[in-house]
Structure formats: structure tokens, C-alpha cells
């Protein structure tokens, strides 16, 4: 199995997590190199979102998580964020009763005042169209704009690894491209990205490497430029021995 050339920024070993008695993830192994873009694919209910939550500490979990040389196995979301591991949660959940600007200020909670202001501006620079609406309440934004705001919130912290959970969900193709373009830009700027995405083609276009998650565990790891990836993916999805002729 090919792994990333660079030394890993995020290293996850036999991670297990779930909700109450329901175990969703077991024995997940995963790594992301510095400045690398990794796509996390898998059918619904495979546990992609759960995995991101477990990594960022929003969910209780067992196993080891190393980030930037630090042991984050028992860290909460606060520590993750301050270490530069930022999680943009699914479904563009922004604070609708606050203005765009306030939403971003909150993302910089705890930063020194001056730095906060500056980094908020940097984040806004990625999304000119919400930059214009900085004084509007977030509730007045369209779904796509809210998603951009959510991503922008993620950027305020100048993350070393940005985890995006289905940024394309419920967005028009145009907007999807815009959001993913932003992701690509970040990537050029040296930020590593872990992207959960339904739209495989777009994901593959953005990422260097791909993991497939099914039934709560990693069933495939590959470089995006490898041949026959779709077939292998589908095999992985439907479980061992599933034969799935893709006819056109």
C-alpha cells in the first residue's frame, strides 16, 4: 500500500468511536502528511463524519491520535483547534443570529485582538462575496454563502490541517467548485486538507490521496492517480466479493 511521502502531520492508529452503545468506528488507521490533501470517501453510514468528529475530539474515542508531533489522543476540540487542527462541521452550521463578521471573530476566540482582526480579514479575502456582507446577519446568507462562511471560520485559525465535512452538501455545482477551489488555494498555501466528500470526481480532483471508509473501518487507501480507482472503490463499498459491473 502506498503511503504519503512526507512525514505525517496527522497520524491515527486503531481508532474506535461511536454513540453510546452503538460502535461506529473500529480499528481505523489513517495519516495525513503536512500540506497534503486527502479525500475520505465512503457510502452513507460508513462513519466518515463520525471519524472527523472523533479526530477533532467532538466525540469520545479510544486509540492514538498524533498531530504535529503532539499526542492528541485525549484532547478536546479546543486543544485541537489551538494546535492547528480545525474541523469544519457538516451542514454549514453558522451562528445565524450573529453577523458574518462576528461569526468570524468567534472563530478567532482566544487570539490576541490585533491578530484576530487581521486573520479574519485574511479569511474573508478567500470569499469576496461574503466579505461584502460582513455586516449582515448570517441568517440572511444563502446556503452556499453560509458554507463559505463556515469554511472561512475554519481558516481564521490559520490551520495546519483543515478537515472539511461534505462542503458540497446542498450546494449548486458552481458553488461547489468555488468552495473546493478555495480548498485547493489553501492547499497551495501549505495547509493540509482532509476532505469528506460525496462527489467522488471532484474529491479526487482536489486530493493527492484517498481513503475509503466502509462499515466503520478503512477498506482502501490509494493515490488519486492510480488506475481503475472507481472499480476498486466500488468493490470496497459493497464489501468483499461483491461483483459490480459498471455498465453505461
Amino acid at each position: 500500500m502506498p503511503t504519503s511521502a512526507r512525514e505525517p502531520l496527522l497520524e491515527v492508529k486503531d481508532l474506535a468511536a461511536g454513540y453510546g452503545k452503538i460502535g461506529v468506528l473500529h480499528g481505523v488507521q489513517l495519516s495525513v502528511g503536512a500540506g497534503e490533501a486527502v479525500a475520505l470517501l465512503g457510502p452513507n453510514g460508513a462513519g466518515k463524519t463520525t471519524l472527523l468528529r472523533a479526530i477533532s475530539g467532538l466525540l469520545p474515542r479510544t486509540g492514538q491520535i498524533h498531530f504535529a508531533g503532539k499526542d492528541m489522543s485525549s484532547a478536546g476540540p479546543r486543544d485541537a483547534v489551538s494546535a492547528g487542527l480545525v474541523h469544519v462541521v457538516e451542514g454549514h452550521r453558522v451562528f445565524t443570529q450573529l453577523t458574518v463578521f462576528d461569526n468570524l471573530l468567534l472563530a478567532g476566540y482566544g487570539l490576541p485582538r490585533a491578530a484576530r482582526a487581521q486573520q479574519v480579514e485574511e479569511a474573508l479575502a478567500f470569499f469576496p462575496e461574503i466579505a461584502e456582507k460582513r455586516r449582515n446577519l448570517a441568517v440572511t446568507l444563502s446556503g452556499g454563502q453560509q458554507q463559505m462562511l463556515a469554511v472561512a471560520q475554519g481558516l481564521v485559525r490559520r490551520p495546519r490541517l483543515l478537515m472539511l465535512d461534505e462542503p458540497s452538501a446542498g450546494l449548486s455545482p458552481v458553488l461547489v467548485d468555488r468552495v473546493l477551489l478555495a480548498a485547493a488555494k489553501l492547499r497551495e498555501a501549505g495547509t493540509a486538507i482532509l476532505l469528506v466528500e460525496q462527489l467522488i470526481e471532484k474529491a479526487l480532483a482536489t486530493a493527492d490521496r484517498v481513503y475509503a471508509l466502509a462499515r466503520g473501518t478503512i477498506v482502501l487507501e490509494a493515490r488519486t492517480d492510480e488506475a481503475d480507482l472507481p472499480n476498486r472503490l466500488e468493490q470496497a463499498y459493497f464489501g468483499q466479493g461483491a461483483h459490480a459491473p459498471l455498465q453505461s
Binding site: 453510546g20 457510502p43 452513507n44 453510514g45 463499498y237 464489501g239 459498471l246
Partner: protein, 598 residues
């Protein structure tokens, strides 16, 4: 040992009775102690014991409201006050010709029942804390009225309590009256607790949605229970007045209300013996700790806080030895589909959705959906997150009323919304996260599913009349059958919260089977199950459908879907993307792109 009993022919696990009587032991001890008490020949003990009996008569009823239905009724002293004044005023004959005390007591019970409904009514509409506040309000208002309405209640001067004639004259005679009534109250509440009504109350408390899906009528049930507990409180009030010999409003302190309430919680919700012991302890304790008297309410509060934070199960948990016996590790759920024949009637009918539209705010969660689920078939419903799968289930089972379109079963049109009515159409379902009553046994959890098939009424249950007993035996037989069908019969007596997640999924299916459903809706039953368990689940579902039930299966596990479904419908953004046989579907280009995103 009963946890691992083998299944016998008639479907009753061996040793079940033994565990049944285990629970009766404490009652027996208390009963003997109660009868023998006069041998002490200490009237002081007699008085305290009488007081405990009277308080218990009220608490016994309140227990169904607080402990079983989980309604936070803090101000129940209001009903004690009402009962006390009703009895006293009627016997005193100040307002009208004097009545014999027993008749007055009866009237107090009726008044209590009526007022109980009034005090309880807000519970049907209001959130927990709001309801607690309203009962508090009632507690203050009643005393206020007692003070203001001088002509009848004597205002602050109060009235003399009733004196019961021989053989129940003051002293031991009166004690025996109270003890007898307390025993009857215990018996009746225990009967209700063990009946489908008691189970339904707990279901409303811990799994309201599942209760609704099982056709349990929350409003009616709660009103009945408020009536019952109001009546008991009224009687307790009459006896209280007699014990006090003379009542003034300042006898009905809020502390008394707190005592009743806390007695139940330290006793343990959903238990009879616990609150009974709790009442005895709280009544007796301050008497024998004279220096602490002034601190008693302080101690009650401390006790309550400790219970809530440290021991939510209360005394009842300490007495629950049965559930401390270790369970067999590495259990395996082995369904026995052959049992299904006894459960299912094989008269499934076709379920069809026509052009159903449901939108929340601007978002169209379901957008003109057509769907047919045929008897004897497993129909898979798949699609990406937010494509409207679960929403569809919720429309069928009546949690959501679609803005347009129709849901028909056979040729009957199902009323939009009206979740509770679905059970009578034999529509059963399971939930994404199992909705089971952790504190109740697996068997009782399953019995919930068959609630609507009971014929006996509340009164019959209260007095365990034949028809009710027949209901219970039938229910029990069916429940054990259902459990053996899903392969859990060996865990029948275990408290549900001790089961593994995978087992809970099968419990839910067993509960659904109790309806002998014509339509079975399964919401991600395979989530969190191991590959082997999924295989068994698949087999079970398949044979359920083969027994004539129409099964609608929402599932993410593609392999399970393609394994057992006869037809599959793929949703995307609330619309049907494709429908057909599994093979058609998996070779369907758009599906693959939408579902797999290739």
C-alpha cells in the same frame, strides 16, 4: 439463573415464577410487621405507623404519576388538603347536614379524582419544568382558598377532623383502617404497575415516541392515572384530618409535599416497594432523631440531591438482586424464524404513497414521492444523507403530515399525522437509535408492542379481573414467542439497559412483531451490527416478509440491501431517482453516481 433458562414448549422460561415471588418477599415482611404492630402496645408507634400508612396511600397513587409516568408533580399536598377539608367539612355538617364519615371519605375520593385531573391536565401540554411550576401554584392556591373561604373551611381557625366510629375508632382501630386501605392501595397500584397500563406509563416516560408508535394513548392514560392518584390522595386527606383531630391550613406545609415527592425518588422510579420504604423512612426518621427534627427538610433535600447525582435507581436498585447476577458473556442472537408463523397473520396489504410532498421551511425534504410496498416483499429504500429516507418513514408512521399527496394502506387512506392511529392499522416500526425502556425487563419492553390488543380496562387491571388476566397471559405468550423468534428468549427477564446494542435492535423488532404487523418499517436496523449479526438480521427480515408482511427497509449497508430486498427505491433530494430490482439498481448509472458519487 433465570437469565439462561432454556425455552420450554409452551414458551415459558423455567424458574420465571421464582423471580416473580422474589419481589413479593419485602411486601410480605411489611404486611406481617403491620398486622403484628399492635402487639407492641405502644400507641405512639401506632400513631407514627398510622401516619406512615396515610402518607403511603397518597404516595402510592402519586408514585404512578411521578415514578412511572415521570411527571414532576411537586405540589401534591394540594390534594391532601382538598381531601382533608372535604371529609371534615362534610362530617362536621357546618355547611350542610352532617354525613357519616365513611360516606364523606368516599366523596373526598371523588373530589380528589376530579381535582387530580385539573392539577394534572397541564401535563398534557406543558414541558416538565412548566408542569412542576403549575403544581407548585396549585399547592399555594388551595391553602389560600382554604384560608379565604371562612364560611366553609373555618378559615385559619380550621375545622375538627372526622372521627370514625367503632370498630375503627381512634387508636388501633383507626390504625387498622389506615393499614387496610394502605394495603389495598399497594395491591391496586402494584396491579396497575404490572399491567399494560403501568408499562405504557413507563413507556411514555422513557420512550415516548415508541409508545406512540405502539398506539399508546398518552392523554387518556395520563388523565386516568391523575384521577386514580387524586382519588387516593383525597382518601389520604380524609384519614389525615381524622388523625390530626383538627385541621388548619398551616398543617399542610410545602415540606409535606416535598416529603411525598422525595419519598418516591429515593425509593426509585418505576418501583412500588422502593417508594413504600422511602415513605416509611421519611415519616419515621425525624421521630427517632429528635435533635435533627429542625433539619429534617434540609436532610430530605440533601438526600434528594445525593440520589439524583449518585444513585438514580434509588432504594429499588439496591433490592434488585436479580439484575446483579452476571449475564453470560459472548452471547449470540440466534433468531428462530420458524416461530414467526405463530405471530404473523400473513395478511399483509399493499402500502402506497402517491405524490407525497413535505417541506420544512423552504427545504423540500420529500418532493412528490411515489412508492409501493407489496405484501411478502422486502422493499429497500436507499439514498445519500438528507435524501429523505427517514422522513419518508416518519410520514408513513404519521409523525409528519405531508403538505400534499396520500398514504394508503390497501384501499384505506391513512390520515396524515396521527402517529398513534397507525398501530391499529398494523403498521409497526423500529427506530434509528433503539427506543427501549432501559429500566424495564426485555419481556416488558416487548409487551409494549402488543398494548393495543388488550381488552380489559383500567379498573379491570387495577383489580386483576379475569378478562385482564387473560390479556396478560396472552400478551406474555406472544411476547415470549416474539422473543424466541428474534432469538432473545433467554434474556426475557433481564433489564434492557444491560443488553448490547445489537441485542436492542432485535428487541425493537420483537416489539414490532407484537402487532403482527401488515407493514413493518425498519430504520437502519443493521447500524452497529457485526457482519455475522447482519447476516442473521437479513435472514430474519426476509422470513418476516415471506410470512406475508410488507417490509420497508431503510439501510445504508448496501450489501444487506442487495442481499435481501425484492425491490429497491433510490431517493435523492426527496425524489425517486430509480426503482427496480437490486440488479437493475446496482447497474443503474445515475444511482451509482448519486449513491457512490462516481
Amino acid at each position: 439463573m433465570t437469565d439462561t433458562t432454556a425455552q420450554t414448549g409452551n414458551g415459558r422460561p423455567k424458574g420465571y415464577r421464582s423471580t416473580r415471588y422474589e419481589g413479593l418477599l419485602p411486601f410480605a415482611i411489611l404486611a406481617i410487621a403491620g398486622v403484628a404492630l399492635p402487639l407492641f402496645d405502644d400507641s405512639y408507634i401506632g400513631l407514627i405507623a398510622t401516619r406512615a400508612c396515610i402518607y403511603w396511600i397518597l404516595v402510592a397513587g402519586l408514585n404512578l404519576v411521578v415514578g412511572f409516568a415521570g411527571q414532576i408533580a411537586i405540589g401534591w399536598v394540594a390534594l391532601l388538603t382538598l381531601g382533608a377539608y372535604t371529609t371534615s367539612v362534610l362530617t362536621a355538617g357546618a355547611a350542610m347536614p352532617a354525613l357519616p364519615p365513611y360516606l364523606a371519605l368516599l366523596i373526598a375520593a371523588v373530589a380528589g379524582a376530579a381535582f387530580g385531573v385539573i392539577v394534572g391536565l397541564p401535563a398534557l401540554r406543558l414541558r416538565t419544568f412548566y408542569f412542576a411550576m403549575t403544581t407548585l401554584g396549585f399547592a399555594t392556591i388551595v391553602t389560600q382558598v382554604a384560608l379565604a373561604w371562612k364560611s366553609v373551611t373555618g378559615g385559619g381557625i380550621g375545622v375538627a377532623g372526622p372521627v370514625f366510629p367503632s370498630p375503627f375508632e381512634p387508636g388501633w382501630g383507626f390504625y387498622y383502617l389506615c393499614f387496610g386501605l394502605a394495603a389495598v392501595a399497594t395491591w391496586m397500584t402494584a396491579n396497575i404497575a404490572a399491567s399494560r397500563f403501568g408499562r405504557s406509563l413507563v413507556a411514555i416516560r422513557d420512550a415516548e415516541v415508541a409508545a406512540e408508535a405502539s398506539g399508546i394513548a398518552k392523554p387518556l392514560l395520563l388523565v386516568t392515572v391523575f384521577m386514580f392518584s387524586g382519588a387516593l390522595a383525597g382518601i389520604a386527606g380524609g384519614l389525615f384530618a381524622s388523625l390530626q383531630t383538627y385541621i388548619t391550613p398551616d398543617a399542610f406545609t410545602f415540606d409535606l409535599s416535598i416529603l411525598f415527592f422525595i419519598a418516591i425518588l429515593i425509593g426509585g422510579r418505576g418501583s412500588i416497594i422502593g417508594p413504600l420504604l422511602g415513605t416509611i423512612i421519611l415519616t419515621v426518621l425525624p421521630e427517632f432523631a429528635a435533635p435533627l427534627v429542625a433539619w429534617s427538610t434540609f436532610l430530605y433535600a440533601a438526600l434528594l440531591l445525593a440520589i439524583v447525582l449518585a444513585m438514580p435507581g434509588g432504594i429499588a436498585d439496591l433490592l434488585d438482586f436479580k439484575n446483579r447476577r452476571p449475564l453470560e458473556r459472548h452471547r449470540e442472537v440466534v433468531p428462530r424464524p420458524e416461530m414467526l408463523a405463530h405471530l404473523l397473520r400473513g395478511e399483509g396489504s399493499i402500502l402506497s404513497l402517491a405524490n407525497v410532498v413535505l417541506s420544512f421551511g423552504g427545504v423540500r425534504a420529500i418532493d412528490g414521492l411515489d412508492l409501493d410496498v407489496r405484501p411478502g416483499e422486502v422493499h429497500g429504500l436507499i439514498g445519500p444523507n438528507g435524501s429523505g429516507k427517514t422522513t419518508t418513514l416518519n410520514v408513513i408512521s404519521g409523525y409528519y403530515a405531508p403538505q400534499s399527496g396520500s398514504v394508503r394502506l390497501g384501499d384505506a387512506v391513512l390520515p396524515p399525522g396521527a402517529a398513534r392511529a397507525r398501530a391499529s392499522h398494523r403498521i409497526a416500526r423500529t427506530f434509528q437509535t433503539p427506543r427501549v425502556i432501559g429500566g424495564a425487563s426485555v419481556l416488558d419492553n416487548v409487551k409494549i408492542g402488543g398494548t393495543i390488543d388488550g381488552h380489559g380496562g383500567f379498573i379491570e387491571a387495577m383489580l386483576t379481573l379475569p378478562r385482564h388476566r387473560r390479556d396478560e397471559t396472552a400478551l406474555r405468550e406472544r411476547a415470549l414467542l416474539a422473543l424466541s423468534a428474534v432469538g432473545l428468549e433467554s434474556l426475557a427477564d433481564v433489564r434492557a439497559d444491560r443488553l448490547q446494542h445489537s441485542e436492542l435492535r432485535f428487541v425493537e423488532i420483537a416489539r414490532a412483531l407484537m402487532l403482527s404487523p401488515s407493514i413493518l418499517l425498519l430504520d437502519e436496523p443493521a447500524a452497529g451490527l457485526s457482519a455475522e449479526e447482519i447476516r442473521r438480521l437479513g435472514a430474519l427480515i426476509k422470513s418476516i416478509s415471506r410470512a406475508g408482511t410488507s417490509v420497508l427497509l431503510v439501510e445504508h449497508h448496501a450489501d444487506l440491501i442487495f442481499d435481501i430486498c425484492d425491490r429497491v427505491t433510490v431517493l435523492n433530494l426527496g425524489k425517486v431517482l430509480a426503482a427496480g430490482t437490486p440488479d437493475e439498481i446496482r447497474s443503474h448509472r445515475e444511482v451509482v453516481s448519486a449513491y457512490l458519487g462516481a
